[in-house]
Every structure is written in C-alpha cells, then in structure tokens.
C-alpha cells in the first residue's frame, strides 16, 4: 500500500505522457485511433498505448474527476497488483514460506528496476503492465488447467505485443511454463501463443515498421553516458562489441545492480574518488542474493513446484537481449520482478532445508541474514526515489507552451487543465528529506 501511495503521489509527466494523453483524443473513434497509431511510427507498433490513454481520459471526463486520479490511480493499482500477484504466484503454504515471502518482497520493491518501473509513466507504465501479465501467466500455469486460463494467457500476450515490444517476455513465460510441464497451460496454448507472436512479427514489416538500430537512443559505456549521436560516432563502424556490452550490462544490472543504464558507478567511483555508500549497499546485497539463488538453482530444477526459478532465468536472458541497442533500467524491470521470484524460491528451499547439513545452508543463511536488512533498506530507498521523482515531475510543468500543441485551442486547453492539476498537487521537496539519504539511498 505504501508503494502505491508513493506512486500515486507522482504527478502526470510532461514528457512521454501529456502528448499521448492529448493526441489520443484527436481521432473520432477508438478504431480510428487504433488504425492511425498502427502506422504512426517507423520503429514501434504500440496502438494499445494510445487506446488505453484515450479510454482513461474518457473515464476521467465521464466521472468528472481529475486526470491525475485516473492515470496515477491506474499506475498505483499496477504497483499494488504486482505485489499481490507476486504473493499469488508464491503459493505460500507454511510459516517458512511466509518468512521467505517477506524477504522476497523487499527484494521485489527494493530492486532499482522496480523503482525505474514506477518512476516512469507513458502515460501508463507499460513495463509494469508486462510484469503484471507475466505474473498472471505464471500463476495460471501453476494451477489446474482451465479453458478460461488458457484463453486469458493468449489474450494477455496479444494485447501486450500491441502495447510494447518487451511483451515478447510474455511469450517466454508462457512457452517456458509449458516446456517445464507446469500443469495449467497446454501445448496447444503454447502453439496458439507462438502463432500470435509469428503474426505480430510478420505484421511489423508489412506496416513498414523496422527494429530501431544503433543511434535510436543514448546509453552508457563503462563510466560515462553517451548521446545517440555519440553512440553512432563511436560504435557505428563495428557495433557488435557495443551490442555484447549492452546485453551483458542488462543482465548484470539485474543480478548485481551494476551497471545502471550501462554506466558502472564502481568505475565512476574509481575515477572520481567519490564512493557513495549506496553503491556498496546495492552491489553487496545483489551479489550475495544472486549467489544464494545460484546455490539452490539445481535443487529447484529437481522439484516441479520450484521450477519457476528457471522461468526467471529465461526472462533474464531475453530481457538482456532486448537491451542490445541501448540499456535502460525499465527494459529489464520484468527480469527484476522475476529475480525476486527466484529469490523467493531459493529462500523457501533454504528455510525449509530441514535436516540439510553442510556448508551450503550455513553460508547461505549467513548471507541472507547479512543482506536482508540491506534489502529492507533498499525498499525504503525506492520511496525516496519516488518522492524525488514527484518533485522533479511537478517542476517540469513550469514550462512554456509546448511546440507540438501548435495552434489547436482544444489541445492547449487540455494541456492547461493537466498543468493546473499538476501544479495544485503538492509534494515533498528533497530539501526537506534527510541529507544522508543522498549518499545512502537513491
């Protein structure tokens, strides 16, 4: 609930959100919007993004409530849904499972990719929607097979692919669960899902949509950030080492919390001599947890009820591949959620170890006892992060009339109304947050 509150507190963003909210109301109907937005971009196919913005805007108008209530309400609901769905797929059966869930929830909320997912809205964060969809599909797969569940899984995939390209992860979860013989999804469903994915991939070139290559987005390299133009200038002649770097960076970002969007803060620290404690906290907590997960991975493979750890690995690999052209924390956010799923599985195996003897349980327990407070601390850091985002986002509204509004009075009126909502929405200033938080949390 507190995470949902921190998310709700963030005003609607000027960048990435307002133009979508306003532009989605222009076509005369939802169908006209859908067909227009299917052809509006040379590199993306995301008509559902505009559709949901239109429907939410119409809901706000019909209900007579501010847009903030609807859009931020949906985002807060997604935050809550991820936590609830996480508990749902955890399938808690005993008190030790409860304890494992408690620690795993701090991993879920404290991971920097969760904060990235909650900071941004487009105007609804589609990565959060993909994460929810992935958890729903996993939950369906864990339970007895039902026709409604099979259909739901495929519908979620189809809708997700028209929302954001990262929704290919939903196919990975679905097919992965079938391959690992989870009871709730059938081979027929996996085939249907693969047909949906194939149709989507075939439709893209027919609509004139190509994948973005090098230079579409800035990203990090070692200790520095590069703009899109700088990336092309530096790596355009031979991009393969750059692609390999990004894929590795995406995976390491999840399992080690370094680098961030391709930038190694450890290298920054070496270069500048400035070492904020937050870097050590993130690195140690993630590395120790990842080692515990790795230590119990083989045990998890042998037990059907813990094989979702391997789904988490598949998500991690595919998410890292999606980072090939640029690395961004929210691209790997679903992998961050499933990293917490893997942590839960490993912790259950550790806590339920019973008569297990030897070095593994002892070392793993010491490791978890050491980093559990760090993860709880990181989850508090997510709140700081979201409060800072609320402050910056609100300040962004102190801006001149955007050029994309043009001469349209209707657009300008909608923009002015959204701006008034954001200005009215008071937030906490970082100046009044504890000064130590700048060095110990993000």
């Amino acid at each position: 609930m507190s995470i949902a509150q921190s998310v709700y507190n963030i005003p609607i963003q000027v960048s990435d959100s307002v133009e979508v909210i306003i532009e989605s109301r222009r076509p005369v109907s939802s169908w006209a919007l859908m067909t227009e937005m299917s052809r509006s971009s040379a590199t993306t196919l995301r008509p559902v993004r505009y559709l949901q913005a239109r429907w939410l805007g119409e809901l706000a108008d019909a209900a007579g409530v501010p847009n903030h209530v609807v859009f931020r309400g949906v985002h807060a609901a997604l935050a809550l849904a991820i936590v609830v769905l996480f508990a749902w797929v955890a399938r808690v059966r005993s008190l030790t499972d409860v304890a494992a869930l408690g620690v795993a929830l701090t991993v879920l909320v404290g991971h920097h990719t969760f904060g990235a997912m909650m900071r941004e809205s487009f105007p609804v964060n589609h990565y959060a929607e993909v994460a929810c969809g992935a958890l729903v599909i996993l939950g369906i797969a864990q339970r007895r097979p039902r026709l409604a569940g099979q259909v739901t899984a495929v519908v979620i995939l189809a809708a997700g692919l028209l929302l954001i390209e990262s929704a290919v992860l939903l196919w990975v979860v679905l097919v992965g669960c079938v391959a690992l013989r989870f009871p709730g999804l059938s081979r027929r469903t996996a085939v249907a899902a693969t047909v949906v994915l194939a149709l989507y991939l075939a439709a893209r070139p027919l609509l004139g949509i190509r994948s973005p290559g090098l230079g579409g987005h800035g990203t990090g390299w070692l200790a520095a950030s590069y703009s899109a133009d700088e990336v092309v200038a530096r790596f355009g002649a031979n991009p393969w080492p750059f692609y390999a770097y990004n894929v590795l960076a995406g995976a390491l970002s999840v399992v080690a919390s370094e680098p961030r969007s391709g930038v190694y803060r450890v290298l920054e620290g070496i270069q500048t001599g400035n070492w904020p404690p937050v870097v050590a906290i993130h690195l140690i907590s993630s590395l120790v947890l990842s080692m515990v997960i790795a230590a119990y991975a083989r045990t998890a493979w042998r037990r059907p009820e813990t094989r979702q750890l391997w789904i988490a690995l598949a998500i991690l690999v595919v998410s890292a591949l999606l980072c090939a052209t640029y690395v961004k924390d929210d691209i790997v956010s679903t992998a961050g959620v499933f990293n917490a799923v893997a942590a839960y599985v490993a912790l259950c195996l550790l806590f339920d170890g019973g008569s297990e003897r030897g070095l593994r349980p002892a070392i793993a327990l010491v490791g978890i006892l050491s980093v559990a407070p760090l993860w709880a601390f990181r989850s508090v850091g997510t709140h700081f992060d979201l409060r800072q985002t609320a402050f910056v986002t609100r300040n962004d509204w102190v801006t001149d009339r955007p050029s994309w509004i043009g001469d349209s009075q209707e657009r300008y009126q909608r923009f002015t109304a959204l701006r008034a909502e954001a200005i009215r929405h008071r937030v906490t200033s970082p100046s009044f947050l504890p000064r130590w938080e700048r060095y110990w949390v993000e």
């Binding site: 509150q5 550790l350 806590f351 170890g353 601390f377 906490t428 100046s431 009044f432």
Partner: protein, 144 residues
C-alpha cells in the same frame, strides 16, 4: 533450519512494512513519513521548488513580500528575504526569471541591491540577468 534464524531474516521486512502501513493509515493523502512541504514563496525559491512558487503566486501570494527563510535553506541561520533576493542568494537565474514573469518587478534601485547580493553569492547567469536590468558597474555595497 533454525526458527530463530528464519525469524531474524524477515524482521527487517516486517519493520519496513509496518512503517509503511502506519504512513498510509495516518495520512493517506501524503504519508506520515513524507508530508508535502509547507513553505512560503521565498522558501520555495530557496528549495528550487518552481512548481510551488507558481502555485503560491497563482493563488495570490505577493511576489514582493519579504518572508522568513528557515535555517539551512539559504544560510546557516534564518534570513528574511523577498523572493527575488532568495533567487539571487540561491544562485538560480531560472528562478529569478520565473519570478519576474510572474509579476515580481525589479526596479533599478532593487537591481543594484541584488547585484550586491550577487557579489556575495556569485553566479554568472544571475549576473548577466542583473546587468541587463541595470547596466553598469557594481554599485557601492554596504558591508554587513
């Protein structure tokens, strides 16, 4: 696995969850732990809170009224400053421009005073703005 060890592992998570839950229950709109700021115009200027400056001024606050700025926001002690003075002391040219757009009038006399403040809290962008408002050399500035 020792029950004590299992309980110890989840204590931090429970503590954080309880604090969060308290925050939601005690103040659902803003949170007990992180309430929204309650600042005057000069304090909003000092904390670079552009949106709050706009909100206060659009709700009728006087952009020329002196306000007490709490300690540690501008100086180590509380200081009385009108918003434009706070902007100069905060070395924030963008904020100075915003205040003038929102009705803060900087007379030539006041510009001279602000130039003296800028000499004490130097910033090139602020200096450039003040030089445009009151061209010429730095006036004689009283010693505090």
């Amino acid at each position: 696995m020792s029950r004590i060890a299992v309980v110890l592992a989840c204590v931090p998570a429970v503590v954080v969850a309880l604090i969060g839950a308290c925050g939601v229950v005690v103040n659902p709109t803003g949170g007990w732990v992180w309430p929204p700021d309650d600042v005057n115009v000069s304090e909003a200027v000092a904390t670079r809170n552009y949106a709050e400056v706009v909100r206060l001024l659009e709700n009728g606050a006087d952009p020329t009224h002196p306000n007490v700025v709490r300690a540690s926001l501008l100086t180590s002690r509380p200081v009385v400053a009108i918003p434009v003075e706070a902007a100069v002391m905060a070395r924030n040219a963008a904020m100075l421009g915003l205040l003038m757009n929102k009705g803060a009038v900087v007379t030539p006399g006041m510009a001279g005073k602000l130039k003296c403040l800028n000499a004490e809290y130097p910033d090139q962008d602020v200096k450039a703005m003040l030089d445009q408002l009151a061209p010429g050399d730095l006036p004689h500035c009283p010693v505090n």
